[in-house]
C-alpha cells in the first residue's frame, strides 16, 4: 500500500460498467420526464423564412413545439462577440439566422421518444438561403490573424532569428503544404441532457459534460440565475474527447423546453445531429518550409497554419505551436490565421493544435530527413532542444531522448533500410515510420475534500469528471496511499456541483489539477488524524512526534514499534466526532514562470500497403512516452493506446466529407464517417519512461489523455511513404491516394 500510486489497479468503476449499472446522463430515472428531439437546419447559411409546426403539434403525443417564434427569450444566450470561445455563443432559437447546417432551429417535446421523433419529422421549414462559405483554399486571402492561439493563450505568431537567412544557409530545404480534414469527436455516448426545474429559479441538470462547474456557470448566466441555483450532475460520461467541454446549444434547449413544457425534459442529440452543433476539429492547412545543413542541423523552420472558425465565435486550431518549441531551430517563424465559414463552432478535440500540428511538422521532418539521407531518429536527435528554444526556459523534465531510444529498440528500428519501397511481403509493401509526440502540461485551480467516516472508511470528494480516463481510479489511489489503506476503504465521488469545485476535464489537466487537490486534501486529513492521535492521551500514539507515526495497512502506528498503534475506526470512535474532514485547494504556482512543461514521446509504426489496391493496415505500432508520474499503469496504458488509435484514425480513416455547394458534411453517420473498428488495429504497444518531475505540480503527473494522438498520424504517414515511396500530404491517407 505504500506504493499504491502507479499500481495497475483495476478500474474502480469497472464493475458497474461491465454490468450496465453505470448511469449515464440520459439514463437518470427522472419521474414524469417528457422527451425532446431537436429540429435542425438543412441549409448552412441564411434565414428561416417560415416554420409550419401545425402537423407536428397535432401529432400523437406531442406536447409542445418550440421555434424562434415562441421560444423563451434568454438574453444570456445571445452572441456577445465574434471572438467568443466555443460554447459561449449558442443557437437557442432566439432568432431566425442560420449559421451552419445541423444548427438547432426547433425542439419537439412529446410523451415518448417515438412521438417526439415522429413529430420532429413533421415540422415544415422554408428558408431564405444564402450561398455557404466552407472552402479554405479559395479564401486564403480573406484569412485574418487572431489575437491568441491555443488553450494556453499563446501568441498567434512567433518569430526568432531570421528565417530567410536561415533558409539561404541551408544545404537542403523543403517547402510543402500539409492538410488535415474536418473531424468530429463522435464519443460513443451521444450528448444528452435531462433538465428538471425544481422551482421557477432552481434547475437540476443531468448532463453529459466534461465540466460540471463550467456547465453550471454557463447555464446560470443564460437563464439569469445565480450559479448556486443550478446543480449539474454527471457521474459517468460516455467519452467526450473535447466535445463535451463547452456548453452547446442543446443543453440550453433542454432547460428551455423543460421550462416551457413545465415538465422535466430529456433530450439526446441524434448521431447525425452530432455533426455540426457540438464542435469539430477544423480543417487545417499547414505550409511548412524547412532548411538544414548537410550534417542535419536545422537552419530555418517556418509553419504558417490556416484553419476555420465559425461565423459567430472564434477558435484557433493551433497547429503551428509544436513548430515553435520542438526542435532547436535558430531561425523560426510561425503564424496562425483563420477564415470564417458556415460551420458549427470548431473547438477542442483530443490534442487540439498538437494533433494536427505534429502531423504537418513531423511529416516535414521525415521529408527533410530523406532529403538529407539521414535516419529520421538521428535527424531528430541532431536537432534535440535541450531547453525550450522559444521561451528560453529549461524544461521541467524531458525524456524525449530516452523515448526515441527505447521506442526504437522496442520496435526494432535499427533494422530499417533507409530507402523507401524496400520491404515487401507478397502483395504488401511494408514501411516503417516514426514521429515525435508532444503535449503541454497544464493545470488549473482545483479543490477536494477528504473525510474519515465513523466506520473507519474514507470519503473523498471533488466535482470533477471521469470521461473514461480513469479519474475515479487514480483519485482513489492518490487518497488511499496518503491514508495507508486499501483502495476499497476509500469512496471517491465526482461529477456533481455539490462537491468541491474543479476545472473542466480537458487539456489533459485532471490528474495534475484535481489529482493535486486530492493529494493535498488527503495529506491534510492525514496530518489532522496524526495530530488527533498524538495529542490524545487515550491513544497508544499519544506523545509521539508526527514524523514518528506511520499510516499503513489501515492503521496508525509507531515507526519504532508497529504493535503500538490503533485503527482509524478506534481513533474516530474515541473522538466522538461523526467524521473528520480536511479540504484543500491546489492552484498553479510560479512553475510556469520558471519552466517549460511538456510531455514528450516517440511513436513508431509499421504500415502494410497493398501494392495494387492501396489498402493500408497499421500492422504494428509502438509508442514510448515521458509523461511525468504514471498514477495507474493499467489505465495509463489504455489512455496512451487510445490516443495512438486516434492517431491511426486520423492518419487513415476520419474525415467529415464536405459538400461545398451545400455547406454540409454528407457522411454524418458512423457507417460512413469511419473511425477504426477492432479489425483495423494490429499489434499496438505503449511503453513509458519513468519520469520524476518535482516542478509541474504536487503529484508530478503531466497528463496523458492527449499525448498519445500527437505524432501518431505522422508516424503512420511516414511509414506509408517508406512502404510506397509516395508522399501523401493530405489526411486521411485513403487507398485512392496511394494506389494511383
Amino acid at each position: 500500500m505504500d506504493d499504491l500510486i502507479g499500481q495497475p489497479l483495476d478500474r474502480i468503476d469497472g464493475r458497474v460498467k461491465v454490468t450496465g449499472r453505470a448511469v449515464y446522463a440520459y439514463e437518470h430515472d427522472v419521474p414524469n420526464a417528457a422527451y425532446a428531439v431537436m429540429v435542425v437546419s438543412s441549409i448552412a447559411n441564411g434565414r428561416i423564412a417560415s416554420m409550419d409546426t401545425r402537423a407536428a403539434e397535432q401529432a400523437q403525443g406531442v406536447l409542445l413545439v418550440i421555434t424562434h417564434q415562441n421560444s423563451l427569450k434568454v438574453p444570456g444566450a445571445q452572441n456577445q462577440s465574434k471572438t467568443s470561445p466555443p460554447g459561449h455563443a449558442v443557437q437557442a432559437l432566439q432568432d431566425d439566422v442560420v449559421y451552419y447546417a445541423n444548427q438547432p432551429i426547433g425542439v419537439v417535446v412529446a410523451e415518448t421518444f417515438a412521438d417526439a421523433i415522429a413529430g420532429a419529422q413533421l415540422v415544415q421549414v422554408t428558408y431564405a438561403p444564402q450561398p455557404p462559405q466552407m472552402d479554405l483554399e479559395s479564401r486564403l486571402a480573406d484569412a485574418y490573424a487572431p489575437d491568441k492561439a491555443g488553450g494556453g493563450g499563446d501568441p498567434a505568431a512567433s518569430h526568432r532569428g531570421d528565417v530567410q537567412a536561415g533558409m539561404a544557409e541551408a544545404k537542403k530545404s523543403i517547402d510543402y503544404v500539409y492538410r488535415t480534414p474536418f473531424e468530429v469527436h463522435n464519443p460513443m455516448e451521444p450528448h444528452a441532457t435531462i433538465a428538471v426545474w425544481n422551482a421557477p429559479d432552481r434547475l437540476t441538470i443531468y448532463d453529459a459534460t466534461q465540466g460540471v462547474f463550467s456547465d453550471r456557470g454557463r447555464v446560470a448566466s443564460v437563464f439569469g440565475l445565480p450559479p448556486e441555483n443550478v446543480r449539474v450532475i454527471s457521474p459517468y460520461l460516455g467519452g467526450g474527447f473535447g466535445s463535451k467541454g463547452p456548453v452547446w446549444s442543446h443543453v440550453i434547449l433542454a432547460a428551455m423546453a423543460a421550462k416551457q413544457a413545465k415538465r422535466p425534459v430529456k433530450l439526446a442529440v441524434t448521431r447525425p445531429q452530432m455533426f455540426g452543433m457540438l464542435g469539430c476539429r477544423s480543417e487545417t492547412r499547414q505550409a511548412i518550409a524547412m532548411g538544414a545543413k548537410s550534417d542535419g542541423a536545422i537552419t530555418a523552420l517556418r509553419d504558417d497554419t490556416v484553419s476555420h472558425t465559425s461565423m459567430f465565435g472564434e477558435f484557433v486550431e493551433a497547429a503551428s505551436l509544436p513548430a515553435r518549441m520542438l526542435y532547436q531551430s535558430p531561425n523560426n517563424s510561425t503564424s496562425q490565421r483563420l477564415v470564417r465559414s458556415n460551420i458549427g463552432q470548431p473547438s477542442y478535440m483530443r490534442a487540439p493544435g498538437e494533433a494536427s500540428g505534429t502531423y504537418g511538422l513531423e511529416a516535414a521532418m521525415d521529408e527533410m530527413a530523406y532529403a538529407l539521407k539521414m535516419d529520421p531518429v538521428e535527424f531528430r536527435l541532431k536537432n534535440y532542444a535541450e531547453t525550450d528554444p522559444e521561451e528560453n526556459k529549461p524544461w521541467s523534465s524531458k525524456s524525449l531522448r530516452e523515448c526515441y531510444l527505447q521506442g526504437a529498440k522496442h520496435f526494432g528500428w535499427s533494422k530499417r533500410p533507409l530507402e523507401p519501397r524496400s520491404m515487401q511481403d507478397g502483395n504488401a509493401l511494408i514501411g516503417w515510420g516514426m514521429a515525435t509526440s508532444v503535449y503541454p502540461t497544464r493545470r488549473s485551480v482545483s479543490n477536494a475534500s477528504a473525510r474519515l467516516n465513523v466506520d473507519g472508511t474514507f470519503s473523498v470528494d471533488a466535482g470533477t469528471q471521469d470521461l473514461g480516463t480513469g479519474t475515479y481510479t487514480i483519485m482513489t489511489q492518490v487518497a488511499a496511499e496518503a491514508f495507508g489503506v486499501d483502495a476499497k476503504q476509500v469512496r471517491f465521488r465526482l461529477g456533481d456541483t455539490i462537491l468541491p469545485q474543479t476545472p473542466v476535464s480537458g487539456g489533459s489537466q485532471t490528474a495534475a489539477s484535481t489529482g493535486s487537490a486530492v493529494h493535498l486534501a488527503s495529506q491534510a486529513l492525514r496530518e489532522k488524524l496524526i495530530q488527533m492521535a498524538i495529542r490524545d492521551a487515550r491513544s497508544p500514539l499519544s506523545g509521539l512526534g508526527a514524523q514518528d507515526v506511520i499510516l499503513n495497512k489501515g492503521r496508525l502506528y509507531a515507526r519504532s514499534n508497529p504493535a503500538r498503534g490503533e485503527t482509524f475506526r478506534e481513533l474516530i470512535l474515541r473522538s466522538g466526532q461523526p467524521h473528520v474532514e480536511a479540504k484543500a485547494e491546489a492552484k498553479p504556482g510560479a512553475e510556469k514562470d520558471h519552466y517549460s512543461m511538456y510531455a514528450f514521446g516517440a511513436q513508431f509504426a509499421e504500415a502494410r500497403v497493398d501494392a495494387d489496391l492501396g489498402q493500408i493496415k497499421v500492422s504494428r505500432m509502438v509508442g514510448c512516452f515521458g509523461a511525468g508520474r504514471i498514477l495507474n499503469a493499467k489505465t495509463a496504458r489504455s489512455q496512451f493506446l487510445g490516443g495512438m488509435i486516434w492517431g491511426i484514425s486520423m492518419a487513415l480513416y476520419e474525415y467529415a466529407a464536405v459538400d461545398k455547394r451545400l455547406g454540409r458534411w454528407v457522411n454524418n453517420n458512423l457507417a460512413e464517417y469511419h473511425v477504426p473498428v477492432n479489425a483495423d488495429i494490429g499489434k499496438i504497444e505503449a511503453i513509458w519512461v519513468d519520469e520524476k518531475d518535482d516542478h509541474v505540480n504536487p503529484i508530478g503527473a503531466k497528463g496523458i489523455g492527449e499525448i498519445g494522438i500527437t505524432g501518431a498520424a505522422a508516424a503512420i504517414a511516414n511509414a506509408v511513404f517508406h512502404a510506397t515511396g509516395k508522399r501523401v500530404r493530405d489526411l486521411p491517407i485513403t487507398l485512392d491516394k496511394v494506389m494511383l
Partner: protein
C-alpha cells in the same frame, strides 16, 4: 438447418388490420413529410422473457427493442450509440444470438428470450467475460462496453459452433475454428469503441476463451 417450426403469429386480428389499412389508404399519394398521421399508433400486447423474467407488455409498434429496454423497462445497460445499426452499443442476445436492438421493433421479437448486459451475471458472480473485461481494461468510458460484452459472449458460442468469419482461412472446408487474435478482431468489429480499448477487448476475449496469445 432444418425448417423451423413456424411460431404463432402475433395476436393482431386480421379485421383490425384491414380497418386501419382502409383509413390510411386515403392518405396515399400525399408527400410523405407533409402528411399528418391519420392513424394513432395502437398498442399491441407482447410477451418477452427478459433476463429470464417473463414480461407481458403493451407497446407502441414503433418502439424499437432498444427503446423498450431503456425507456420503458429502465434496463439502461443497453446503450444507444447511433440508433442505426452502425456502432454495436445496443447489442443484446435474442434467443442466444447477438443483434442490434436499435434496428428491430420490439414487437418483432414477441415471444423471444432476450438477454441484456444486466442478465449476464449470476447474482453477484460476474460472467467470466465481464471479469476479463475488467482485468484487461477492455474499456474506458464504458459506454460501448455492455454491447462489447454481449457481443463477446455470443462470439464464443459462434466459434464453438464452428461458424467462420471473413478472416477464416479456407472457409469452404468444415473444420474447427482456431481463435486467433485476427479472428477475435474481425468478430468484434461490429462494436465500435471510440476510446480505442481494442487491445484490451481482444485480450479479454482471448482470456475468456481460455486461450493464450496466438
Amino acid at each position: 438447418m432444418d425448417d423451423q417450426e413456424s411460431k404463432p403469429a402475433l395476436q393482431v386480428s386480421r379485421r383490425e388490420f384491414v380497418e386501419v389499412a382502409v383509413v390510411s389508404g386515403l392518405a396515399a399519394g400525399v408527400p410523405a413529410a407533409a402528411q399528418t398521421p391519420e392513424i394513432k399508433p395502437r398498442i399491441v400486447n407482447c410477451t418477452f422473457t427478459i433476463n429470464k423474467q417473463k414480461q407481458e407488455l403493451q407497446i407502441d409498434p414503433r418502439v424499437t427493442l432498444l427503446d423498450l429496454l431503456r425507456e420503458h423497462l429502465k434496463l439502461t445497460g443497453t446503450k444507444k450509440g447511433c440508433d442505426h445499426g452502425q456502432c454495436g452499443a445496443c447489442t443484446v442476445l435474442v434467443d442466444g444470438r447477438r443483434i442490434n436492438s436499435c434496428l428491430t421493433l420490439a414487437i418483432m421479437q414477441n415471444g423471444r428470450e432476450i438477454t441484456t448486459i444486466e442478465g449476464l451475471a449470476a447474482g453477484s458472480q460476474l460472467h467470466p467475460m465481464q471479469t476479463a473485461f475488467i482485468e484487461h481494461d477492455g474499456f474506458q468510458c464504458g459506454y460501448c462496453t455492455p454491447g462489447q460484452v454481449c457481443s463477446a459472449v455470443a462470439l464464443l458460442d459462434e466459434v464453438k459452433a464452428g461458424a467462420p468469419s471473413a478472416v477464416t482461412p479456407r472457409m469452404g472446408e468444415i473444420r474447427p475454428i482456431e481463435l486467433s487474435d485476427d479472428e477475435i478482431r474481425e468478430r468484434m468489429s461490429g462494436n465500435i469503441c471510440r476510446c480505442g480499448a481494442y487491445e484490451g477487448i481482444v485480450a479479454a476475449v482471448r482470456e475468456a476463451a481460455g486461450r493464450r496469445r496466438v
